[in-house]
Amino acid sequence: MAVGRGQVVALAVGGAVLVAAPPALSSFVLTLLTQAILFSILAMSLDVLLGYLGLSSLGHAAYWGIGAYSVGILTTRYDQGFWLTLVVGVLLSAAVAAVFGLLALRATSVYFLMITLALGMVVWGLALRWVSLTQGDNGISSVPKPRLGLPWTPADGLSYYYFALAGFLLAWAALALVVRSPFGKTLVGIRESETRMRTLGYHVWLHKYVGFVIAGAAAGFGGVLWAYYNGIVSPSDLELATSVEALLMVALGGRGTLVGAVLGAGIIVALKNLVSVYTHRWLLILGAVYIGTIVYAPEGIVGTIRQWRAKGEPS
């Protein structure tokens, strides 16, 4: 898939706005932006599974939560700095994904959904009930700002925004490399037809497994940044509703494109925050967005735009 000139321009403009605009923005909008780019990391990581491998996971928030809890526990109990929490958070979520992947990839379609749901609940159950480690329902509060070992600490909203933006760009670049590599193309091939790829001599299971672990590790990376941003880590970070919301982000934006995942995450974060300002009935509206996405844009926003374009062009 070649990158069109229009896309390059759009990305450049988008990037320039993300870098230049924030100092002029209100703290409310800045909050929105920071949350949007952090949840984009979760959505992009899930998109590796959902979009590129065609596997709907109902437990992806678990890895995000493992990254977040790594930060919560290591900073408040052991007074660790940023880099160690980052390494532990990413490695731990990758390790858990490596174990869960062994179980989950034995199944396909609706069974894969159920198994990932169940595995997600295992982690959620530990977070909720292992009170001596996780403080249960209350969560771990007063997570400090990241200590980088540098003269600079992203302590206030604006500097944390830039810090998160750097993390987001890093995650995007890494995942874009993955999905554009021959490995990524193989994942798409597996999504389209496992049998064909197996016949061609590809090790289908291994590709799925590596994709699963990469997705878990990337989600864990996002969770680390989220914990430092939010200042509190709680079971709601990895509950079922968060996993489903991540699915919605990807489905709404458009599966199989990282831009779509970012777009979906941005829209959902903006919607949740803006609607809850104006009405208490935001769950009602969020529910309608879930249903409306499936009814009106089953291929997501990016997918729908592509369909329009395809219709416009003479074939």
Binding site: A118, V122, W124, V244, A251, A288, I291, T293
Partner: protein, 290 residues
């Protein structure tokens, strides 16, 4: 933890586990049939449970009739289920992602509507005098209401079993579960059967919600609290299998009770980890077919 090793502790915990398992069987039996037949991951199932309890509560407030409330609650939710299935779900067969997101959307909407209509306070459904109190056996007390739940679940389980295994309608249902395309080919109205089973699942969920209202209460958030349990039962037992739902329910009920009593810190883990272990060996559950 007083008296962990006494026989009384074990008897009471087993009894509590079985009665909770009976409640779960009511809830998950229908979910399992829906899974088995339509492969729908129904996130709204917990909402049916909660709404059933709330509707029954409103009926009781007006009429003081427990049994009437049970029936009205179940029928009202059957209508909700039929409407949801007809308007959206029947078009989404085979699209797991679409089903998950649509039913999740309904679950959120129902959660919010329930909050608007019934408010945020927890309620308990008043149980009829005949079902309150306890039976005393030696030094042990068994609440009549919990025995009643076991009885209801056993009765409904038996009726379901007889209908599915012994009647013409049941044969059609089994045929639709096994191979919808062939079933359609031999003249079975798969749409009507599917809608009927979906409504049945909603009715059972609502019944379990009313019954549960008598001992755990009806409160906001109850829907998403019970949903994972129903999923675990179905996953462990295997989708579409009544026998699996029965065994899964008892297992989950007992594991939950003993987990909470013996290892409170790991109580969810003791529930979900055995399930993961079973899945590792049998990805389709104990009695499920791929």
């Amino acid at each position: 933890m007083p008296g962990v090793l006494t026989a009384d502790f074990w008897i009471i915990q087993v009894f509590n586990g079985i009665s909770y398992g009976a409640l779960l069987f009511l809830l998950a039996g229908g979910l399992s049939l829906i899974f088995g037949m339509m492969r729908i991951v129904n996130m709204t199932h917990g909402s049916y449970y909660l709404l059933g309890g709330y509707v029954a509560l409103s009926v009781i407030w007006r009429t003081q009739q427990f049994w009437l409330a049970l029936i009205v609650g179940a029928l009202a939710i059957a209508l909700v289920g039929i409407a949801e299935w007809n308007a959206f779900l029947k078009r989404l067969s085979g699209q797991e992602l679409g089903q998950v997101l649509t039913t999740m959307g309904f679950a959120l909407i129902f959660q919010d509507l329930a909050l608007v209509i019934w408010g945020g306070d927890p309620y308990t459904i008043p149980i009829p005098p005949a079902l309150s109190g306890s039976w005393q056996v030696g030094t042990l007390y068994f609440p009549v209401y919990r025995v009643f739940i076991v009885g209801v679940a056993a009765f409904i389980g038996l009726v379901l079993y007889l209908v599915v295994e012994r009647t013409r309608l049941g044969a059609k249902i089994r045929a639709t579960v096994d191979d919808p395309e062939m079933a359609r080919g031999v003249g079975i109205n798969v749409y009507r059967i599917s809608m009927g089973v979906f409504a049945l699942g909603a009715v059972l969920a609502a019944l379990s919600g009313v019954v549960a209202g008598g001992f755990v209460g009806v409160y906001p958030g109850g829907d998403f609290e019970i949903l994972p349990y129903a999923f675990v039962v179905v996953i462990v037992g295997g989708m579409g299998s009544l026998k699996g739902a029965l065994i899964g329910s008892l297992m989950v009920g007992l594991l939950d009770n003993f987990g909470k009593a013996l290892f409170p810190e790991l109580s969810y883990f003791t529930l979900f980890a055995p399930m993961a272990a079973i899945l590792a060996v049998r990805p389709t559950g104990l009695f499920g077919r791929a």
